[in-house]
Structure formats: structure tokens, C-alpha cells
């Protein structure tokens, strides 16, 4: 019988470490731990029983298939066309498929994010090569590549948020990535002025308003009430900005039309909700009247 030096509890003979605090059990008098007498251990695969399927064998089978199909396609093209012409496209597609499906079987550890990153890189390379094979340039592939990159940035941000769990670095990450994407798009976009006039103010204001709203909601103690009022205010601001941007692009001056109707409805409502949540007595009285 052992004791845990941290917790002071008696441990059973089968405990290699304390189940409460994780402290290892070191008993100089015994060299082997007993089997668990209270619950069965996880089943152990003994010698003579079927061994687990090897992952890389599956990868090898898939690779052989991809190689054989590519070879057949290239061979047929070479025989019929006296050169490699159309077969590059299906070969490229098979290469992408191999990288997405078969390659993970050769790796011991596959996390979703790593596989997703590899797939995004493979897709960008594939699209670029496809564009070059067909047209001899990278004109339309750039747009697809930027879209895939933007998608990767959003997914990466979600994983980063889960790891870091601090608002400021995540905020900087999303702002910088949005700016980078916008500048990359602008560098080869044909209608740069339209994007600058219409798209950029809306995107930037959306990001800024979302972040400010998030900070306010997080720091408030009356969560639900504050969230409602913040959402109303941020929606109103977005409507005003969109309205102003559209008005400027058409009339070359800032003006408000339909967004004023939205503001007239939401601002008094927001003021009422804010006043109720700030006044403890009013909050209690309204809650009492509306309780179910």
C-alpha cells in the first residue's frame, strides 16, 4: 500500500501515480505495479492476435493507384498526340488528389490545421499551374489564390484564438491580415478605384466596430442588456457608414438617406435599454413586472 506524499491519501497497489494530483508513486520495495482490481484496464493487443492496420500501407496503395492512372493518361496522350498535351491537366489533378488524400497516411501525426494548411498550399499551386497550362499566365488564378489565402487566414485565426486566448494579439492579427489581403487584391485588381471608394471603408469600419463592440460587451457586468444595446448601436453605425459610402460614390458628397430611418428607431431604443441597465432600481422594477 502506498501513500501520496502531496495529498496524504492511501493509494491502491495498482496506482502508478496519484489520481488526484498526478504525483508519481515511488515504492522502493516493489518493482512492478499490480493490475487494477477495481476496474478493468484498456484491452491490450497480445502477440498472435491481429496487428493494427498500418497506415502507410494504405498510403502506398493510394500512391500506386495515382501513379498508375497518371502513367496511363500520359501514355495515351503521348501515343495519340505524339507529345504531352491535354494529359497534364488530369495528371496535375491526380497530383493534388494524392497530396490531399494519400500524403497524410505517410505522416504519424496529422492535425486538422496542418492538413488544412497543406491542402490550401496544394490548391493554390494547382490553380496557378492550371492557369499557366491553359493560358500561359496567372491572370485569373491570382483571384482564386487570394480567396484561398483569405480563407486560410480566417481559419488560422480561429486556431490562434484557441491557443493564445488574448484579445489584443488576435485583434492585431485580424487587422493586419485584412490590410494585407486588401493590398494584395489592389495590386492586381483592375477596378482599384471602385474597391478603394466602396469596399475599403466598409471593411475597415466593420472590423473596427466589431472589435470595439467586443471589448465593450466583454467588460460589462450586465451582459445581455449591454450586448443588445451594443449590437443596436453597431448595426446603426454600419448602416450609416454604408449609406454615406454609397452616397459619396454616386454624388461625390457625404449624405444620409435610408440609414436615418434605422437610426431614428434604434437610438431611442438603445437609450432606453442603457438607462434601464444602468439604474439598479429601474432594472429590478422592470424585471419584477416582466417575470414569468
Amino acid at each position: 500500500m502506498s501513500y501520496c506524499v502531496q495529498c496524504g491519501v492511501k493509494l491502491s497497489d495498482y496506482h502508478k501515480k496519484c489520481p488526484l494530483c498526478g504525483t508519481e508513486v515511488i515504492n522502493p520495495n516493489t518493482y512492478e505495479f499490480a493490475a487494477n482490481t477495481d476496474y478493468p484496464d484498456y484491452p491490450v493487443v497480445n502477440e498472435g492476435e491481429a496487428s493494427p492496420v498500418r497506415r502507410y500501407m494504405t498510403g502506398i496503395i493510394l500512391s500506386i493507384q495515382a501513379f498508375v492512372y497518371s502513367f496511363v493518361v500520359l501514355f495515351i496522350d503521348w501515343i495519340t498526340g505524339k507529345g504531352i498535351n491535354w494529359s497534364l491537366i488530369p495528371t496535375l489533378s491526380l497530383a493534388l488528389l494524392w497530396f490531399s488524400v494519400a500524403y497524410p497516411f505517410f505522416r504519424k501525426k496529422n492535425s486538422f490545421f496542418r492538413l488544412f494548411t497543406y491542402d490550401c498550399i496544394a490548391l493554390i499551386v494547382y490553380i496557378m499551374l492550371l492557369n499557366y497550362i491553359i493560358s500561359g499566365n496567372f491572370i485569373w488564378a491570382r483571384y482564386v489564390a487570394v480567396s484561398v489565402l483569405f480563407l486560410w487566414i480566417i481559419i488560422a485565426g480561429i486556431f490562434l484564438t484557441d491557443k493564445i486566448r488574448k484579445v489584443f494579439p488576435i485583434t492585431i492579427y485580424y487587422i493586419l491580415s485584412t490590410v494585407i489581403i486588401v493590398f494584395i487584391s489592389l495590386s492586381f485588381a483592375e477596378q482599384k478605384i471602385a474597391i478603394l471608394k466602396l469596399g475599403l471603408p466598409v471593411i475597415i469600419s466593420f472590423v473596427v466596430i466589431s472589435l470595439i463592440s467586443y471589448f465593450i460587451i466583454k467588460s460589462s457586468s450586465k451582459g445581455a442588456w449591454t450586448m443588445v444595446s451594443v449590437l443596436l448601436v453597431s448595426s446603426t453605425l454600419m448602416c450609416l457608414i454604408i449609406d454615406a459610402t454609397l452616397h459619396y460614390s454616386v454624388h461625390s458628397s457625404i449624405g444620409f438617406t435610408w440609414s436615418l430611418i434605422v437610426a431614428v428607431v434604434t437610438i431611442p431604443l438603445t437609450a432606453t435599454i442603457t438607462a434601464i441597465s444602468k439604474s439598479n432600481e429601474l432594472y429590478a422594477a422592470i424585471s419584477k413586472k416582466l417575470h414569468r
Binding site: G8, P19, D38
Partner: protein, 444 residues
């Protein structure tokens, strides 16, 4: 009036055919049952010798006729589910690493309970639709007595503590005791009706990294019941109040770690099932327990004694027949409501699941179930090491506690679906500091 109609109809149908309506408490379990929330609990006994599975199966077959309301399979009607008599042969199972796994009736000959064995342990995993802890323990005791008789370890069974297997089951055992109590005591209902079942308060819910899917960790601390009583006497409390207070104190520390902003700290509560048979002596062998929810405000708590005092005051105020009768009435009135009764079952299940995931999940922080002291005839005691109880995994209850005592051994079990063992570590460490010797058993 609606309650009266249901009670009379219930009795009439039970007389006519071998089927049972779900009792008032059991109606929610078919809707909530899932892989991660199987609504199963376990009562188990550890003997002093290895279990013989053949004799165990033989014992189960001998006594199952005495408990016809457990030997059922569940069927689904248009408005409610119901239980129908199951003529299949029962099966004995070898125990698994994670207890209280979901019972799939199709692989269990339709039965809603499982008898498992491992080494010296006999365990009964029970679906909560059938009964509560008291009913399950009586069933297990009966199987145990018959098993020891088959093994020639004992020569006879004392019917003072063990249900007589040759006795014809009383009608009262399969009745819905909630309806019956309400019918009998409706004049005693307090004049001021307060809705006591579902509160409006939100309580702290602890977070944690979940264990791999369908994994469930259990750690049992065996403590001397005498030393527990001595420790609780020092704080002028009962053993249950002491363990509840330790549990609450552990949760204060958990909330302090997980919620940095003290202004956002919520009240902490423990859901404590109460055996209604203590207040209304009924022979009911199905669900007949309600719960009280003692809580504390961590911002106003000064020391451990203040927690104990608050718990004591709460229990004194709420463990009264008035309050419990109000809760019974509340419980029954929901199921008796005209609209609730006539909503199709599939829709009811969706609504129940939704209510459980929203309002139901915030009604309490954690659960603690004390089954009390198990009494056995003297000729059986020498063959038993200890009893144990395990509450099954639940989506909203990441860490639960259960307690049962036999002779001088009290088994306090913490069950969790998260990686952190902080609460169990805290409670057992505190008990050691207070002077109790704790022996740990676990499945990990």
C-alpha cells in the same frame, strides 16, 4: 382535478395490462438520454471473494420475478413513452473501464439495467427511467442475498433488510408516488404558491478540458464513517452537510481560478437529491426523490464554518414537508397540464432537450447524491467489503459526487468528464487534514 384524473387512470391501466406509465420524474429521461448524457447511475458492492458469474446470473433469474417493474422494455407512444413487461432472459456483463455507459436495449435483450461484474465487484447500472438510488440499492441487495445463498455463504435471508423474493409485489411499489402523495396531501398545500422547482438564478458552471469521447473517470475515497461523524460533529453538522460544504469550498477556488473578475462571480450551488420516502413513507420502488439546491454567495463567504452554517440553515428551511409538497405539486402540474399532455412525443422531446440545455443547465453548479447507510443482515456483512455509488456522465455536470456508507466504510466517489481532478483532490486533502484516513480507488 387534472392530477386526480391522471392518478385514477394510471391505476386503472395498471390493473388492466402489464405495462407501466413513466412516473412523473422519469418522463424527461427518454428525451435527455444520449451517448454523452446516458441518464445511468450505478450502485455496486465489492465482496471479499471473486464473483462467480454463473451463480450471479442464476441469482438474477431467481429474483427478477419479484421486481416486474424493472424487467421491462421501453416503448414510445404518441404522447409519452411507457414501459412494457419484458419476457426475455437477462444477461450478465463483464465490467468496462468507464462505468455507467449508455445502455442500448437492443444488445441487452431489451432491458434497461445491466448487471456487471469484475473481480470481486458486482455492479448494477440502472437507467433512471426505472427507479432512483433507493430502488436500485434494494434490487442490488436482493440479488446479492440470493447470490450468497446460491454460493452457500449464507443459509437464509433476513427479510427485515432484504426484500423477500417470494413475496408478491405490492401494487404500491409500481405506482407513481408523486401523484399519490399529492392526492393524499392536497389539503396541506401552503396557501401561498411559490414556483420552487425551476429558479430564476444562474449559478456558476465550471469549465474544463473534456476527456476523450465517452471517457469517464471515477475516483472513490474510502473513509471511516466514524471519523466522518466526528469531524462533522466538530462543525455541528451532519456528514452530508460537511461534504456539501467541502464541495462548495472547492468550487469557490475553481471559480476564483476560472473567473478573474470578482464582480462576475456567480453563486455556487449543489443539487442534492432528497429521498421522499423519509418524509412520506411509501413502498414505492420507482422514482420518488426530489432535490434541494443549497447555495452560497462566494463574495460573502468568510470561512469554512460560515459555509457549513449557510448549508445548515438552507437545509433546515427547505427540508420541510411544506416546501417539498410544493415541489411535488410543481413537478406534477407540468406533466398534468392539458397542452403538455397533448403535444406529440417527438415535439415534447425537442422541447425538453432545449429546456434542459438552456434553463435546466444553470439551475445548479454540481450534484451530490448521498444514498445514506446500507443495512444488511449480520450473516451477510462478513462477506461484503464496501458499497459504492457512481452517478453517470452528464453534458452539463462535469464533476459530480456520490456517497454511500456500509458498516464503518463510507465511499465518497467523484465522477468527472474533464481532465482536472482538482475538486476530488481538494475534498480528500481537506478530509485528511481534518483527521480522516482516505483510501483511494480509481479507474485511471
Amino acid at each position: 382535478m387534472a392530477v386526480r384524473i391522471i392518478y385514477v387512470y394510471n391505476r386503472y391501466m395498471n390493473d388492466k395490462q402489464k405495462w407501466y406509465k413513466l412516473d412523473t420524474s422519469a418522463k424527461i429521461y427518454p428525451a435527455l438520454e444520449s451517448l454523452r448524457n446516458p441518464s445511468i447511475f450505478r450502485v455496486s458492492v465489492t465482496l471479499r471473494e471473486q464473483v462467480n458469474p454463473d451463480l450471479l446470473l442464476h441469482a438474477l433469474k431467481n429474483i427478477r420475478g419479484r421486481f416486474p417493474y424493472y424487467n421491462v422494455h421501453m416503448k414510445h407512444g404518441l404522447f409519452w413513452s411507457y414501459l412494457e413487461h419484458n419476457n426475455n432472459e437477462p444477461i450478465i456483463w463483464k465490467d468496462s473501464q468507464s462505468p455507467c455507459r449508455r445502455i442500448t436495449p437492443i444488445f441487452n435483450n431489451g432491458f434497461l439495467y445491466k448487471i456487471k461484474y469484475f473481480n470481486k465487484k458486482i455492479a448494477l447500472d440502472m437507467f433512471h427511467v426505472l427507479t432512483d438510488g433507493y430502488g436500485a440499492m434494494e434490487f442490488l441487495k436482493c440479488i446479492l442475498a440470493e447470490y450468497l445463498l446460491q454460493k452457500n455463504e449464507i443459509s437464509d435471508i433476513d427479510s427485515q433488510y432484504i426484500i423477500d423474493k417470494n413475496e408478491i409485489p405490492a401494487e404500491e411499489e409500481s405506482e407513481d408516488a408523486f401523484l399519490k402523495v399529492l392526492e393524499e396531501h392536497k389539503d396541506e398545500l401552503p396557501a401561498e404558491k411559490k414556483r420552487s422547482l425551476m429558479g430564476k438564478k444562474t449559478y456558476f458552471k465550471m469549465k474544463g478540458k473534456m476527456l476523450p469521447h465517452s471517457s469517464f473517470q471515477v475516483v472513490t475515497g474510502l473513509v471511516s464513517a466514524k471519523s466522518l461523524k466526528e469531524i462533522s460533529a466538530r462543525y455541528e453538522a451532519t456528514v452530508t452537510q460537511l461534504i456539501v460544504s467541502l464541495y462548495l469550498e472547492a468550487l469557490i477556488h475553481v471559480q476564483a481560478k476560472q473567473v478573474k473578475n470578482k464582480e462576475k462571480h456567480l453563486n455556487i450551488s449543489v443539487q442534492l437529491p432528497v429521498n421522499m420516502r423519509r418524509f412520506y413513507p411509501k413502498k414505492c420502488m420507482r422514482n420518488f426523490s426530489l432535490f434541494v439546491i443549497p447555495y452560497i454567495d462566494p463574495r460573502e463567504t468568510k470561512n469554512f464554518q460560515s459555509i457549513v452554517d449557510e448549508v445548515k440553515d438552507f437545509m433546515k428551511a427547505h427540508l420541510t414537508t411544506d416546501h417539498l409538497l410544493t415541489m411535488v405539486e410543481d413537478n406534477c402540474s407540468i406533466a398534468a397540464n392539458f397542452f403538455v399532455r397533448h403535444v406529440p412525443l417527438f415535439l415534447k422531446n425537442i422541447i425538453i432537450r432545449f429546456m434542459n440545455n438552456t434553463a435546466g443547465s444553470t439551475q445548479f453548479s454540481v450534484t451530490l447524491s448521498n444514498l445514506g447507510v446500507v443495512k444488511l443482515p449480520e450473516n451477510m456483512e462478513e462477506h461484503i467489503d464496501y458499497f459504492n455509488m457512481v452517478l453517470g456522465p452528464s453534458i452539463h455536470n462535469k464533476c459530480t459526487c456520490s456517497m454511500v456508507s456500509f458498516n464503518d466504510k463510507a465511499a465518497i466517489t467523484f465522477e468527472k468528464t474533464i481532465k482536472s481532478s482538482f475538486i476530488a483532490e481538494y475534498v480528500f486533502k481537506k478530509l485528511v487534514e481534518m483527521g480522516a484516513a482516505v483510501e483511494i480507488k480509481s479507474n485511471y
